[in-house]
Structures are given as C-alpha cells and as structure tokens.
C-alpha cells in the first residue's frame, strides 16, 4: 500500500504540473507579414471564373490528358478512314470478280423480256 502511494504521488504531481503549465502562457503570434499573405490570398481568390478555369487547365496533368485525348482522336480518325477505304475497295473488287466469272450472257432478248 505504501509503495502504491509512493508511486502515485509523483504521478499526481506530474499531472497537476501539466495542468498548470499554461498558467503563465504568453500569446503566440503569427509569422511576420500576415497582411501581405492575406492580400495575396484575397487576390488569388478573387480571380474570375474564366481565370480559374484557365488556371485549372494549365496544370500539367490536364495538358497531358488533353494531349492524349487529341492523339487518341487522331488515331481513331486514321483507323476509321483506313477501314472504310478497305471496305470500298473490297466491294468494288467483289463486284468486278462476280462480273468476270459470271456465266450469264446478257442478250437483247433478256433486256426486252424482263417482265413476267
């Protein structure tokens, strides 16, 4: 019991000491030139909507994203054009080959009697 008391007293003293540590505290002051920092902040915050949008889009990540988007769109256009050219060419080739290998002989009789 005596041991516990002996341990408790310094602990209690420490606690009370900590609780009273702010008794003669001085007021903390901010870094110098607070007014200048406030002005700079106010100027930054008073930018127009377009200026803010402009500021947003000059960030490297947005520039990079935009660049990737433009490149992707270019690649898509090139690919799309190549595919449609291929399709036209293959249709023409198909028609030509059908005509080349056709066994039907177009005669004047066929043209005149095409109605049932």
């Amino acid at each position: 019991m005596k041991n516990i008391d002996m341990n408790q007293t310094p602990l209690k003293n420490k606690i009370e000491e900590a609780l009273q540590s702010l008794d003669a505290v001085q007021r903390a002051t901010p870094r110098p030139f607070l007014m200048t920092r406030i002005h700079a902040r106010m100027n930054k915050e008073s930018l127009s909507v377009w200026e803010r949008v402009g500021e947003l889009f000059i960030q490297p990540r947005w520039i990079l994203t935009g660049l990737c988007l433009v490149l992707a769109m270019n690649a898509a256009v090139v690919l799309f054009n190549n595919r449609s050219n291929d399709a036209v060419v293959s249709t023409i080739e198909q028609t030509n080959s059908e005509e080349d290998y056709s066994t039907a002989v177009a005669t004047l009789y066929d043209l005149e009697n095409n109605e049932p």
């Binding site: 310094p10 602990l11 420490k14 606690i15 000491e17 900590a18 609780l19 540590s21 702010l22 008794d23 003669a24 505290v25 001085q26 007021r27 903390a28 002051t29 901010p30 870094r31 607070l34 007014m35 920092r37 406030i38 902040r41 106010m42 915050e45």
Partner: protein, 192 residues
C-alpha cells in the same frame, strides 16, 4: 482596442485602413486561438488568413448584438474545427488507402506540439497537456483553450460559446477531469 461602431462602419464601407488595423489588432488573438485548437503552426497561419478574409467579406452580417471580439472568436473557432474535421476525414481516407497499399507520406501523425508562449521549464509538461487536449470532447477543449490559453473569463467564454456561465464552469470541471485521465494514461505509458 478599436472604437467599435466607427471601426465597424469603416470596415463595412470596405476601407483598407480599417481592415489593416483589424488584422494588426486581432492577429494574435485569432492565431493563438486557432493554434490552441489545431496545434500545427502552419495550419494555424492558414486558418488565421481565412478568418480575416471571411471577416472582410461577411462584416455586413455583424449586427453588433455581441462584442466584435466575441464574433471574431466564434468565426476563428468554427474555422479551426471545420479544418480539423476535414483533416481527420483525409487521414481516415489515407488510412483506408494504406490498407490497399497506397500510402500518403504527407498524412503522418503530428509530432508533439510545443506552444511558443510556454516558458522553457514547462515545455515538456505543456506538450503532454496539448497531447491530452486533443483527446477530450470538443466543447470541453474549446472552453479550456479559451480560458487557459486566451485568458478569457468564464463570462466571456460563455458569450463566445453561446451558453451560460454555469455551463462553462461545468465544462471546465469536466475538462480538467478528462485531462487528468488522459495525462494519467500518457504518463503511465511514458514510464516517467
């Protein structure tokens, strides 16, 4: 301090001189209060700037029903508490991210805070007190900070917190009790 009615009128008219005087006269009060709550000098500096910008922009909403300093204290406390909540939310998010292997090194815990106004012999015990302050309920912490750190009377604290003097007395008593518990834990783990 400033002659309030004239000063408020000047501020409401957007006079630069009045705003400069406001910042010069009240910067210590705002910064010290915010620093007591946040315990990070850089954050306290940031929030102090925000407080003055808000005062400049919303001075028209000040009706003069309370002291100007009371109104200013309320703005400072609200701003500091809002910032603290945002920081805590970010820390929680960073913790979740760290569970998935994405850790943010900037979200590490804040080291022991030493208030610049505390005398050298008391630095160690005040650091323990500030660490304990972070763990007690918000209202108790605000009452304790305003009374002990800002030297405000119970009457003034009651005005700032929009409560009664009896409620502040009760808050202070509970704050001391909570702090004793936290300090006991702290010192027992520290193996003083």
């Amino acid at each position: 301090m400033l002659n309030q009615p004239e000063f408020i009128v000047q501020l409401k008219q957007g006079e630069e001189v009045a705003f400069t005087k406001l910042v010069n006269d009240y910067e210590g009060m705002v910064y010290n209060t915010v620093l007591g709550i946040l315990q990070v000098p850089a954050d306290a500096d940031d929030i102090t700037q925000e407080v003055f910008i808000q005062v400049y922009r919303s001075i028209s909403s000040f009706k003069g029903e309370s002291q100007f300093s009371t109104w200013l204290y309320r703005i400072a406390i609200n701003k500091a508490l809002d910032y603290e909540k945002t920081t805590k939310r970010k820390k929680r998010f960073a913790f979740i991210q760290s569970l998935f292997g994405k850790s943010d090194s900037s979200m590490t815990t804040v080291p022991d805070f030493n208030h610049p106004g505390v005398i050298l012999e008391k630095k160690q015990s005040s650091a323990a007190l500030f660490a304990a302050l972070k763990k007690i309920p918000e209202k108790q912490r605000i009452a304790f900070t305003l009374h002990k750190l800002e030297g405000q009377s119970y009457r003034a604290v009651a005005d700032i917190m929009e409560t009664t003097v009896i409620a502040v007395e009760s808050l202070m008593a509970r704050a001391k009790e909570s702090l004793r518990k936290e300090l006991k834990n702290f010192y027992q783990h520290e193996k003083y």
